[in-house]
């Protein structure tokens, strides 16, 4: 129905799993357990007991961190016992997620240098050209119009300043 199909259709065929739900569950529960241990230690250092003015700053968080620790152990045990081998993510899916996640990281990185408007124009246009197989002029038109609209809404209508870069400086904003 539109020309963004090719990449997207691949997913429908089954592809090997990157890792299973079981692995993911275990990894997340271990990460949570480690995180909560760090927080327990940090709050303990801060003082999690009873000070002269009532509970100390770490009193509430340390208890929560301990609860997370216990709950993550429970999740870990369940994950090992359930042994769910259905794939957490398949290779083709992982590719699609990477297709959006990696450009997103580049985009956020670029905001600091190019300003949000230029970075967004490049981001949207790149997406349309590489993923949607649009001709470059269409991609440029859509992305520039869209960001021009946002520029109007934020900078002129609501007076909310967004990060700007060399181009906007050059234009006098």
């Amino acid at each position: 129905m539109n020309n963004s199909e090719p990449l997207i259709e691949e997913v429908r065929e089954h592809s090997p799993a990157v890792f299973s739900i079981r692995t993911a569950e275990i990894a997340v529960s271990i990460a949570l357990a480690i995180g909560s241990l760090i927080l327990v230690w940090d709050n303990y250092k801060l003082g999690a007991g009873w000070g002269p003015y009532g509970p100390e700053a770490g009193y509430f968080p340390i208890r929560l961190a301990l609860i997370v620790l216990i709950a993550s152990i429970v999740v870990f045990i369940h994950a090992v016992r359930d042994n769910d081998q259905t794939p957490f993510i398949e290779v083709a899916q992982a590719k699609l997620v990477a297709v959006i996640l990696l450009p997103l990281l580049v985009f956020v990185f670029a905001i600091a240098y190019l300003g949000i408007y230029v970075a967004s124009i490049l981001f949207i246009a790149a997406f349309m050209v590489f993923l949607g197989k649009f001709p470059i002029w269409k991609a440029a038109l859509v992305s520039i119009c869209l960001m021009g609209f946002f520029f109007y809404i934020f900078e002129i209508q609501f007076l909310v300043p967004l990060p700007k870069g060399p181009l906007e400086n050059w234009l006098g904003y």
């Binding site: 129905m1 020309n3 963004s4 997207i8 997913v11 429908r12 739900i21 993911a24 997340v28 927080l39 940090d42 709050n43 801060l46 009873w50 000070g51 003015y53 009532g54 509970p55 700053a57 770490g58 009193y59 509430f60 968080p61 929560l64 961190a65 609860i67 997370v68 709950a71 993550s72 429970v74 999740v75 369940h78 957490f88 993510i89 899916q93 699609l96 997620v97 297709v99 959006i100 996640l101 985009f107 956020v108 905001i111 949000i116 967004s120 981001f123 949207i124 997406f127 349309m128 993923l131 949607g132 869209l146 960001m147 946002f150 934020f154 609501f158 909310v160 300043p161 967004l162 990060p163």
Partner: protein, 503 residues
């Protein structure tokens, strides 16, 4: 009849040109937000919240709450025409809505979905109108222990009623509380869990978290499923609308049942998602023709939509009366109240009469206006979904990034948003619920303050929570809510029946 007087005054405020305009704008934006994947009630409101910082609170809440109503309406469009639930609460609507659209009865399905929604919402608003002032008046007697008890009840019922594994609900909730605690401690002024990163001094903002958890993660999920939108054509003409309306009275029982279920689950934090499934299940159970369900039964569309809207609306009751939100979107709205400088809680009904009653009045008008708007603009919104995903996905990411940035004018927040997006994606795939995390993040500081004030008063004895009749009752209720699944399965086992386990 004091309520009616105040309500009339509220209508007066809402019916100014500016506020009516904001109301319509909110509904239109809300429908767009509800239709698009990756934008939903909670993050739609979160992204627009920074734009309302300078507005007066009454106009701001009208705009934002109307986005919420619009999003509730919008979810139904994609479910029925595209078999893609735009929102989790419209999943149950796809069961019968999409078959109806396949049979060429899309107009009928949409009309009944929207009308059901409107009826459910109005039912919820009427409950709010008469119940919320009473609850607020009652809650004026609350001190810190009672407030902590109510928070505790909220979170216990989340754990007790949640469909996800209990340990995961607990993790998600405690993670929310911990995130809320990062940064400067409000009482002692000490820095907590910042690990010497200056960026963490401010702590985590719930708006940024919501935009990442609900927006970015949703786009990742949509991307992974490789969605290709293939929709049915929608045409609604007045004849279909009136014919459908004429057939609705005979389903009054379904509507009433769903409204009650919805209100119940909305006030207690079960939320719109649970309500829509329960509404559907009950309608099927009590229907004279249960075999029709799943093949395009009109009740199958009415029941979940009515329940979802009733729940979505009544979720604002505890938010207004007690300062405790019943859903993720309500939590974001509550955060908005604090940003606009209003103190949520029972005093709101005393100190901010104009605000509260304008909001309630705008709920009546917003839902009725929403019904008319949505009926007349369905084809337009269905067309949005025909825009290729390769434009929609990056555009939504850009909107999310702008939303995250505008909260504090910090680029670091955009990075935070991305991290929350990945966390949200992993959590969703492993069925960790996100709503408790957001709720805890919003309420964290207040709950902790209430707890510590209580502890200071009692010199650290936990017995204070059972010292008075009121606080004791609430705490006991909380315990029951927390342990209910255990108790009920135990009772079932004792009676030697099949254990009723939560699915």
């Amino acid at each position: 009849m004091e309520e009616l007087n105040s309500l009339m005054q509220g209508f007066g405020h809402v019916l100014s040109w500016q506020n009516t305009g904001l109301m319509l704008l909110g509904i239109l934006l809300g429908i767009v937000v509800g239709v698009l994947p990756g934008l939903g009630g909670p993050n739609g409101v979160a992204i627009l919240l920074p734009l309302t910082f300078s507005m007066n609170p009454t106009s701001a809440i009208i705009l934002l709450s109307c986005i919420y109503w619009g999003a509730l309406f919008g979810g139904a469009i994609t479910s029925i025409l595209f078999n893609i639930p735009g929102e989790a609460w419209s999943v149950a609507t796809t069961f019968d809505g999409y078959p109806m659209a396949q049979q060429g009865r899309a107009g009928q399905a949409l009309t009944s979905a929207f009308t059901g929604s409107c009826i459910g919402a109005l039912f919820g608003v009427i409950i709010i109108t008469f119940l919320a002032p009473l609850v607020a008046k009652f809650a004026l007697r609350f001190g810190p222990p009672e407030f902590f008890a109510v928070y505790f009840l909220t979170f216990c019922s989340f754990i007790g009623m949640g469909k996800e594994p209990k340990a995961k609900i607990i993790i998600s909730m405690c993670a929310g509380f911990l995130l809320a605690a990062v940064g400067m401690d409000t009482i002692s002024g000490q820095l907590r869990m910042t690990f010497d990163f200056p960026e963490l001094l401010r702590g985590f903002d719930f708006l940024v978290a919501v935009i990442g958890l609900f927006g970015v993660s949703e786009i990742l999920m949509t991307m992974e499923e490789g969605l290709a939108f293939k929709g049915k054509k929608a045409k609604i003409d007045l004849k279909v609308v009136f014919k459908t309306w004429a057939s609705l009275p005979k389903y009054w029982m379904t509507l009433l049942r769903s409204s009650i279920i919805g209100c119940w689950l909305g006030i207690t934090p079960g939320g719109a998602v649970a309500a829509s499934f329960m509404g559907y299940g009950m309608a099927k159970k009590f229907s004279r023709t249960p075999d029709e369900f799943g093949k395009g039964a009109i009740e199958g569309v009415l029941a979940p939509e009515t329940a979802a809207h009733a729940a979505g609306t009544s979720a604002l009751l505890p938010m207004l009366a007690l300062g405790i939100p019943g859903s993720a979107t309500a939590a974001v709205l509550l955060g908005g109240l604090m940003i606009w400088g209003l103190q949520p809680g029972p005093m709101l009904f005393v100190e901010q009469k104009e605000f509260v009653w304008s909001l309630i009045a705008s709920m009546y008008l917003g839902n009725i206006a929403g019904l008319l708007v949505v009926l007349s603009t369905v084809p337009l919104f269905a067309a949005i979904l025909r825009i290729p995903f390769s434009i929609i996905a990056p555009a939504i990411m850009v909107i999310c990034a702008i939303g995250a940035y505008t909260v504090h004018n910090a680029i670091f927040d955009i990075w935070q948003m991305v991290v929350f997006g990945v966390i949200g994606y992993i959590f969703k795939k492993l069925s960790y619920p996100l709503a408790p995390l957001v709720l805890a993040l919003v309420l964290g500081d207040r709950a902790e303050d209430a707890f510590r004030q209580t502890m200071v008063g009692s010199k650290g004895a936990l017995g204070v929570f059972w010292s008075g009749g009121l606080v004791g009752t609430i705490m006991t209720l909380a315990m029951i809510a927390l342990l209910w699944p255990l108790v009920s399965s135990l009772i079932a086992r004792l009676r030697n029946r099949e254990p009723v386990l939560a699915v």
